[in-house]
Each structure stands twice: as C-alpha cells, then as structure tokens.
C-alpha cells in the first residue's frame, strides 16, 4: 500500500485539518491547546517514519520515492516542526491575530518540505515547493497590524511568484527536451544527448535561479533580509532553516543526481554563486544592527558554504551538505529561541538590546555563545565538522580556491557574531532585571545546545547515519 509510506505526511495533514476547524470554531482566548496538538502531531509523525526506515521503493507512479535520503530529511523536517512549534507558542499567544492558522500553515509548509525532499519527479517537487511557498507568504504577513510584516509578505510573495514562474519555465524546457519529468529517467539519458543543445543550458540556468531564490543564494537573495526582518520572529526562525533545507534537498536530487550528465556545466556556476553568496552574506552582516537582519545575512552566508557542496558534487560533498543541514537546524533553532524570547518580552531586536544578557539570563547566554561558536566553526561543536567536511570535500576535488574563500569568510564572520557575544558579556545592561526563560523555549534552547555539542564531539554515529542515507555512493 503506497499510503503507508506517506503515513507521516498524512498524519500531519490530518492534524492540520483538525486544527483548521478548531481555529474556526474556538474563540481566540481558548486556543491554548493548539501548539500542544501540533507538537503531538509532529511527534506522532516522527514515530510513523519508523516502519518505512531502511526500505527503498517508488510509490505513486514513481512520483515519490522512499529511500534513506528522503527518510533523513523527513526526520529533520519533523524535528524542525517540533522545535519551531515549541518556540512559537509563547510568542503567538500574545499576538492579536489568532494563533490557530499559524500552526496549520506551519504544518502545511512542513508537508511541502517533505515532498520536496522525497520526490523524484520535477512536477511533484514543484508542487511541494509551491505548498511551502504559499504557506510561507501568509506566515510572513501573519502580524496583520504590523506594516513591516505586511511589507515582508508582499515582497516575498511578489518575488516568489516571479521565481516560481522562472522555475516552472525552466522545468517545462527540461520536459520539452527530455520528454519526461522523472529525474531517474532524465539521469539515464546519455551525456552526449543531454549536453548538446543550448536550450537545456537555459533551462538549467532557470532552475538555478528559481531554487536559488528559494534558498536565498546571491544574487537571488534580496527578498530575504526584508522578509526575515518583517516576519514574526518565530516565522523568521522557520524560514532560516525549513524551506532552505528543503530547497537544498531538492537541488541535490535535481543537480548531482538528475542532471549529473551536465555536471561540467553547473558545477562552475554553483562555485561562483557559492563564493559570491558567502562573501556578500558575511560582509553585509558585518554592518547590521538588527539581529534578525544579521541572522538573515548570516543564513545567506551559510547557504553559500553549503553551495560549495553542490559545486563539488561528489559523494563526500553531498554527505557534507546533509551534515551541515543537520547541524545548522539545531544551531539556528536554538539561537532563534532566544531572539524570539527577547522580542516577545519587548526587550528588542537590536544587537545593543542584548547588552548584559549574561547577567540577566546566564544559562541562555552561554547557550547562545555555543551557537555562535558553532556558526563560526570552532572545534567541539557541530559547526566545526559541518565546515570541515565541506572544506575537505572541496579540497579533495581540486576546489582549493573555494576552500580558501570559505576559510577567509569564516574568519570574517567572527566579526559580527562576536559583536553579539561582546554585547551579552562585556556591555552593561540597561535594565538588569533577570529574564526568565519559559519551559518550552528552554527546551528548544537546551536541545539545540546539546545537539550542537553532541554533533561536535560524538559525530561518528551521525556520519555513519548520513552514509546510510547518502544519495551518491
């Protein structure tokens, strides 16, 4: 039965529908159960992943595939769902707009993400992408009374529509030339037959642009800082990890696997994009004063690092991308839980608002330092191995120059991460009253920090896991 393999997705959608009815029927002040139900839904879906583990098959007329790669990302995305739900609960309960639809949209977006990672068909990937995107547009504008949130949503929507159109055009060109939308079939077409026509080059460029927009690669990144800053903070947290990871997963399916015959054509393109993306991301982040905006540029830079893995396109580099995403999800979820808290308490979004946090919330500040250290790539944290694997993969395949740019960039990134750490530890707080961390946010913070350290010290089992889930051998 094909449906058994998509049990996690079915569970999420069912829970989302229940919540949708709930959001319509129950009054705003009686919706406290919603995050609980949503979390339970995500956890149930996580359990439902278990029966399909280790199996490999194709379902729904080869639209969807069941393999280690899909399962890996399914688990990652469900964890993202849990972490984001937990860190949203407090923030959303304080908004004027009722929180119900928020969780529904979040669950739809997660469903879309899962389909993006587990489809081997261009159309199915595109549908998943649209499900993520449309949910994201609404999420970005969720604070209806806030003009900035509206601006974020409109910009994201307009640019997203353009990107979707370009992407779809690219997909149609691929279909027009190869006669199939199935990536496995495309991969089997001979190199010569595929590499000849210029049309496919144009199509390829459009695919890069479309997906590049979704994961915010430079120069398709311009929506990201505005959308990140304006969106409600938990949504920003979600944007910085969820859709990005899904976009990258789909890109791995399309480029190194589906269009592997054209590697020589897109490899250099990704290499240039990687170099520009990291550099622009890091340099621009240096001059930011708003922490959400800074993290937007930081996440652009992180995508730049990951893009190196796409450019290299070897088994080692694809595994490195998977490790990077796994590490990055925990780092950013943890980091954003504190940004959410400070925003929710009205302490602020500016870096100067973090002054003296080490005195106001010592444990949380220490956890944030762990995250920043990991983002810089200092050993004993997951971030170190994430960067190291990318770096090693690049050097092994002769992309020495990219590896050097990576190293220089991670040195530059110290500049702005350090600014926050300095504010937290060295600057005197304007108001010394302690900041109490609620239990749900504390759980996210602690999970993030522990996972970051665990991946940094005992990384071997996880590396083996990724080896099992690897798409390229």
């Amino acid at each position: 039965m094909d449906y058994l393999y998509i049990l996690p997705e079915l569970i999420i959608v069912a829970v989302a529908l229940v919540l949708l009815v709930g959001a319509a029927l129950s009054p705003k002040d009686r919706q406290g159960y919603m995050p609980v139900v949503a979390t339970a839904g995500f956890l149930a879906a996580l359990v439902a992943v278990y029966p399909a583990l280790g199996q490999e098959t194709n379902i729904f007329g080869r639209m969807i595939t069941v393999d280690g790669f899909a399962q890996f990302f399914k688990v990652i995305f469900l964890i993202v769902g849990v972490l984001v739900t937990l860190s949203s609960a407090g923030y959303m309960s304080k908004q004027k707009t009722s929180g119900g639809e928020y969780y529904v949209l979040l669950m739809f977006a997660v469903t879309g993400m899962i389909f993006m990672a587990s489809s081997t068909d261009l159309l199915a990937i595109w549908l998943g992408l649209e499900l993520v995107s449309i949910s994201s547009y609404i999420l970005a504008g969720y604070r209806r009374e806030d003009p900035k949130s509206n601006e974020a949503a409109i910009k994201y929507f307009l640019m997203g529509a353009i990107a979707s159109a370009v992407l779809l055009f690219g997909l149609s060109l691929v279909y027009g030339y190869t006669g199939t939308t199935n990536l496995v079939d495309i991969a089997q077409i001979e190199t010569k037959a595929l590499a000849g026509p210029a049309v496919l080059g144009v199509a390829m460029f459009m695919l890069v642009a479309g997906f590049g927009f979704k994961v915010a690669m430079v120069p398709f990144h311009m929506w990201a800082p505005d959308a990140y800053e304006g969106a409600p903070t938990p949504v920003t947290a979600f944007f910085s990890i969820g859709p990005k990871a899904a976009g990258l997963a789909a890109m791995i399916r399309i480029f190194p696997v589906g269009l592997s015959a054209l590697t020589s054509k897109w490899s250099l393109l990704f290499a240039i994009i990687a170099a520009v993306t990291m550099t622009v991301g890091n340099l621009t982040a240096l001059s930011q004063k708003n922490i959400k905006r800074m993290m937007a540029y930081s996440s652009i830079a992180q995508v730049g690092y990951i893009t190196i893995g796409l450019a290299v396109a070897t088994a080692a580099s694809v595994n490195a991308i998977m490790f990077y995403i796994m590490a990055y999800v925990f780092i950013n979820a943890g980091l954003f839980s504190m940004i959410i808290l400070l925003d929710e308490r009205g302490i602020g979004q500016k870096i100067e608002d973090y002054a003296g946090l080490s005195q106001r919330a010592p444990v949380a500040a220490a956890a944030m330092v762990v995250f920043f250290i990991a983002l810089i790539g200092i050993p004993f944290t997951s971030g170190f191995f994430a960067k190291f694997f990318i770096f090693a993969a690049a050097v092994q395949s002769g992309f020495m120059w990219l590896a050097i740019i990576l190293a220089v960039n991670s040195a530059i990134s110290v500049g702005y991460y350090y600014g926050v750490v300095k504010a937290m530890y060295l600057d005197a707080p304007k108001d010394a009253s302690p900041v109490k961390v609620p239990r749900a946010l504390g759980a996210v913070l602690l999970t993030g920090a522990l996972a970051t350290l665990a991946l940094g010290v005992f990384s071997e089992p996880f590396i083996r896991l990724i080896g099992l889930a690897s798409l390229l051998r």
Binding site: I154, G201, M222, P379, I404, A407
Partner: protein, 644 residues
Amino acid sequence: MMLPYAWLIAALPLLASLAVMFFGRRFKNGGDFIGIAAIAVSFVLSLLVFGQLAGGAEPYRFTFTWLNLGGVQVQNGIAVDNLTAIMLVVVTLVSMLVQIYSRGYMHGDVRYTRYYATLSFFTFSMLTLVLADNLLLLYIGWELVGLSSYLLIGHWFENPGPRYASMKAFITTRIGDVGLFIGIIILYLTTGAFGFPEVAAGVAAGKISGTLLTIAAILVFSGAVGKSAQFPLHVWLPDAMEGPTPVSALIHAATMVAAGVYLVARSYGIFAGSPTALGVVAWIGTITAVIAALIATLASDLKKVLAYSTISQLGYMMVGLGVGGYTAGVFHLTTHAFFKALLFLGSGSVIHALHTQEMHEMGGLVKKMPVTAWTFIIGTAALAGIPPFAGFWSKDEILLSAYHYNPIIFGLTVFVAFLTAYYMTRAVILTFFGKPRDHHKYEHAHESPANMTGPLVVLAILAVVAGFPGSPLMGNWFGKFIHFGEFEAEAAVPSVMAMAIGAALLGILVGYVIYGTRLVDRRKAIAATKPVYTFLKHKMYFDELYAYTVIGGTQVLATIAGWVDKNVVDGIVNAVGWLGAQIGNISGWFDLTAVDGAVNGVAAVVSGAGRRLRKWQTGYVQSYALTFFATVIIGVIIYELIGG
C-alpha cells in the same frame, strides 16, 4: 609505569576548572585551593613522567579511532615523549606557582572564582596541546588556549582597555590560525594522516611535493607567528598586558606564547623537509627579535618592557629552530619560561605594592622589597645572559647555531643580546635603585606576602640552575634528552661564547652609565639650588625627549650638541642612546603605522565593502525583481557564449 596515566595530568585541571566554576563560590576562598591542589598533583605526575623518560623509558603513545568517514579513519590520541615531558613539567610548574601567587595578587577580586576556573581551564587546554599526538587535537588545544587567553586578558572587562586588548589578541591570533588550519588540511590531504609521526613519515617518503611542502610548512608557521607574537602579528602581545599580571606571567610569557615555538619543534619533521621554510622561520625570528628589543629600550611601562622582551626572546627561539638548532630552541624555551615568569611575577609584586606600572613612578624599591628586587635581578641576569645563569647557556647555544648558519643572523642576534642586557639593566635601575620618584607611593610600598614571594624564590632558584642540564658542565644532558635526528654535541666555539658574554656585559655597562650615573647627578641636583635642579630635572626626563625626537628632532640635536660641549664622554654615551632611540622610534613608528595600519586597513576595507553592499539592498521590490531578471538574462547570455 607512569606513562599510560599521563592523560591524568591534563584531566585534573579540567575537573578542577569545572569544580571551581560550579562549586567554587560555596567555599571561603572561592575554591582556589581546588585548582592549586589539582595542579600540584599534575605537577608531581609530570615529574614522575619526566623521571621515567629521563631514566630511559620508551616514549608512550595511545591512539583510538575518533572518526570513521566511510573508510577514511581519523585517529586521535596522546603521546608522551621527551619533548612533551619537558613541556609538561614547565607548564604544570609555572601554572602551580602562578596559582599560588595569585592567591595574594588577586585577593579580593570581584571575579576571583571565575579567575581560578579559567586559569585551570587554560592549564588543561595547554596540557592538551602539549599531549596531542596529532595536528587535529593540537589545533583543538590551540584554539582553547586562545579562548582562555581571551577570557583572562579581558578579566577586568569593565575597563575599555582590557576589553579592547582581549578582542585584539583574539582576532590577531586567529589570522594566523586560519593559515595553520589550511596547513593542517594540506598536510592531511597529501600524507593522509594527522599524527605527527605519520605526517613526518609521509613528508620523508616524498608524498608531498617540494613547493607544496614549503607552503604547508609556512602556513603551519603562520599559526606560530600569531600565537608566539612574531612579526608582523606581534602587535597583540603588548596590549595583552592589560590582563592581570599573573596571567601575563603564565600565558603571555611562559606557556601559551611558547606554544608557537613548541608547534614548530613538534612538527620539525615537516620543516626539516624544506630549507626554505626553515629560512623563513629564522628570518622572521631575527626580525622579531631585533624590532621588539629596540622598542623595549624605550618603553616606560614595566610590563611593556617585559612584553617586548618576551616577543624578542620568542624570536630568539624561532631563530634557534630556524637555523637548525632544534635543541637550542627548545632549551631556550624551557629556561625562558622560568626566568620570564619570574620577571613577570616580580613586576606583579611591584605593581601590587605601588598600584602603578610606570617605571617613572618607581625607584629605590630595593630597600622596601628586598626579596622581589633580588629575585628580579637574578631573573634579569638570566635574561641578559650572564654566566652561569640559565639564560646564558641557552642563548649561547642559539648563538652557536646561528654562527654556523649565517653571519648576518648571527650578528643581529648578538646585537639583540646587547640590547637585552641594556634594557633590562635600565628597568632594574629605574625600578629598584636610585631615589624614589613618587614619594607617596614609595611610602606605602611594602614587601608582598609570602604566597607571592614564595613562588618568586622558587623561580629564582630555577633561573640560576635550569641552565646547567644543557651546559657542557653536565655533559650536554639536555641535548641528549631532546634532539632531532642523531644527537651530536656541537663543539663550543670560544669566540662565540666570548662575544655573547661581551655583548651582555657591554649592555649592562651602557645601561648603568646612562641610568645609574645620571641618577647620581639627580641626587646632587636636589641638594643644590633650584635652577640647577630644574636643569637636571630636564636631563632626567631625557627619556621623554627621546620619545619626542620624531617631532622635535632638531631640539634633541641641539641638546646633544650642548652635551658634547659640556662632557665628551657623556655626549658619546648619549649619542649612542639617541641612535638607539631613533631606531627604536622608527621601528615603533613602523609597528604603529605600518603593521597596525595594515590590520586596520583590512578591517576598514571589509566594513567599507559591507556598507557598500548594504546600499544594494534598497528595499524596493522593483529593483529586486530587476536584479533577479537581469541576472538570469545576463547569466544565460554569458553562459551560452562561454560554456554552451
């Protein structure tokens, strides 16, 4: 057998650090005794390890598979050989003494417990670095000592000085670290291993081409340049003196800054394959030694004198390693750790008593603080290279190696030996002799408590005797214990030894003539009439005039002309001093303008680019769409023209 338990040496300070951090506040003394007890046990263990290796035991190595990346295995582990054993003893001993000393020095500090926790953490990191049998673990320890150093420099972070200094130290050293990391990766990719013996074997087997080996070795060395404050990354160390003085003694004199030297020594198998890289090491060391020594002759802050002296001596060690004197470099590292820690702790004792670091507010302290003064003088003698103190033997060996290598380097190192003796004599005279210049401070000065003078005495004894194991008097025992390749005793060249002693004595003499005799003039002046006093006072501030020579060079020239008229001998002495000041000033200016300027320039370019890029982000969705489409269209066109 003790050797398999060597990991305990590093583990104990870590446990102590955690214990102090979490439970320290519950105890009366902030838990300092936990740290001291742990390091004492570590020290005893280190001595046992050292004893066994000295007794002829085989070096010990323990490895385990740390990562298994689909066939590629990364090993991790620790190794205890002779070099490690020496470092273990040095690190644990100095750390123990510094922690005892800190009980007095840091008494009543607001973050006393944190201080002890960080100190123990630093010791753990440094011992990890020393025990590592591979580049990866060494790099981890390397970063952790950098972190602890950062935390300790910024210990008094309420003040902008320490805050800025800690940042500068962290960022400057990280520039070198990037190079080190790339070097490690290059070595791993070519030799397939991180372990020192494996990498060295790979290099010896020719797995890495000559040019790439030179690049890798220089990249590894760039890490050492940052950590050991070598030119041009030396700018952070003088500023790091903003930290508590015991920290300066432990981290910025005896151990962490020597880690760069240790790194070069430890990976000597890599450097040995590339004469070019060794040449770079030797020349960087020489340049550093000369520049820092020249600046030291002008510094008026006692700790800054010692800081520049440390940079200069680290340059010396690099020279030793670079010119092929492996034993000499490591030997100087060992002896320097003792006497420089002694000097720093001595200066700390003075600062503790006077609450100032300016030498112009000191003077005559030998009467008030005899223990501090005399131990400081012993340290000075050792640093200046007066036989039979420790520094003499190790410096002599470096000079000997340089003598066989290159006459220019040899000449410059002898010159540095002269300068070293000169500026240390100046520091001693200004601090401890003559009349007190700040009577208020002098009246309140007192000898430090026993837990501060105790470590001074222990280190003073070591500053006297630590050189003997490496001297011909004990049959070059040190050389037999630590050597690269086959051990061969180098025949002492009497003329080299004579030049070393001569340079040191000349330095002391010049220093004494300039500062000692001028102070005699001053005593007369106070007794004499007021105009004469003012005139002599003007003389007394000759140092300040030196400092202003760049601005008012002619004024100085006139003054010197007057001096020559009045007293020819004094005039010549002053001319020598003026020349030194000029050179010192120029290199100081170079240091401030060119090196700092380059560092600031890079920062400015980076942040400028950031601002420029930010403007690109206009906020108009139309321009975003335009960028998007333009990129797609231009990209497709370029792509089809070039790649299609």
